[in-house]
Symmetry: C2
Subunit: 152 residues, 2 copies
DNA sequence: CAAAAGACTAGTAATATTATAGACTTTATA
DNA sequence: TATAAAGTCTATAATATTACTAGTCTTTTG
């Protein structure tokens, strides 16, 4: 049940882009290098990931001097589920319970397959969290933790 | 978030072994071939998987003529989580939220990493299902479905 | 026009996955 | 006690995926 590095990096980058600028401003434009430095991610690899996210419509960018990436929509309108699916594909543990990308999985009788029933529950549990958590929820939660720890 | 074929086959085989024999008897002893035929799994591959499960203490076996595999404990004492972990490793999507196999995941600050917080929730949601569902629960659910459909 | 920044494509090394093959061991029974 | 049935164990092959790296192209600003 593993999240790939692509997925991990992409999610971390999106969260970074969702964090309000230093003085409580609105979501920022950031350069690839800035993000890769801050999040300790290979610049070239991150480049690919951000490009994918952009082509999927979750990011916008500005080319040339003073350019960078920024969220295509407000942080409260982008869910982790959307990001995850772009980078790591369907959320479901087996294809036969996928809502977004169903395929038969090869068991003798899908209707009465007990594993399928349980994996359906697992899929729903995961999707419930990922599809109902926005980038804004995450940054909010982060600052709550920081406040509690008295950091920054 | 994918379940591997090993995991899928292993879980299906364990469920098959947990199904009460035709005339409402107790869990049965089955041969590899029997299971592989019924579940449409390569015999040789399944052989490996069952052996792993045996070495992990979830199955017992009898060698020689009339031999086969059977559950090491009653179906109500074996959870899907136990089986899953033997075949597919930790349930957690990222190592830094794994209860059974923690490792740092490389983010700059683990304490305040928002992704980690959410992935912790995901891990718990998955583990909640897998660790609280026994083989007996699955077969019970299967027969409920069969009854509802009027099958068999 | 030069430099800064993203866009895009291709390639690659390492690892994991999904098997397959074959030789060996144990056991029942004819 | 020989033989066939069944599980045990280790090695290897084929393929796919992962996690990058490299390099060239395009856009924008000053």
């Amino acid at each position: 049940m593993r999240l790939s590095k692509r997925g991990e990096y992409g999610l971390r980058a999106m969260i970074a882009l969702a964090e309000p600028a230093d003085k409580g401003g609105s979501p920022q434009m950031m350069q690839i290098k800035e993000i890769s430095l801050r999040e300790q991610i290979s610049t070239k690899f991150l480049e690919q990931i951000l490009l994918t996210l952009k082509n999927a419509g979750l990011l916008h960018s500005k080319m040339g001097v003073g350019g960078g990436y920024y969220l295509a929509r407000s942080a409260s309108e982008i869910t982790l589920g959307q990001i995850f699916r772009v980078l790591d594909g369907p959320v479901a543990p087996v294809k036969c319970v996928s809502q977004m990308a169903y395929e038969p999985c090869g068991c003798p009788d899908e209707q009465t397959c007990g594993l399928r029933l349980v994996m359906g529950d697992v899929r729903n549990a995961i999707a419930d969290i990922l599809d109902n958590t926005t980038l804004a929820d995450v940054t909010k939660r982060q600052s709550a933790v920081r406040k509690k720890l008295g950091i920054k």
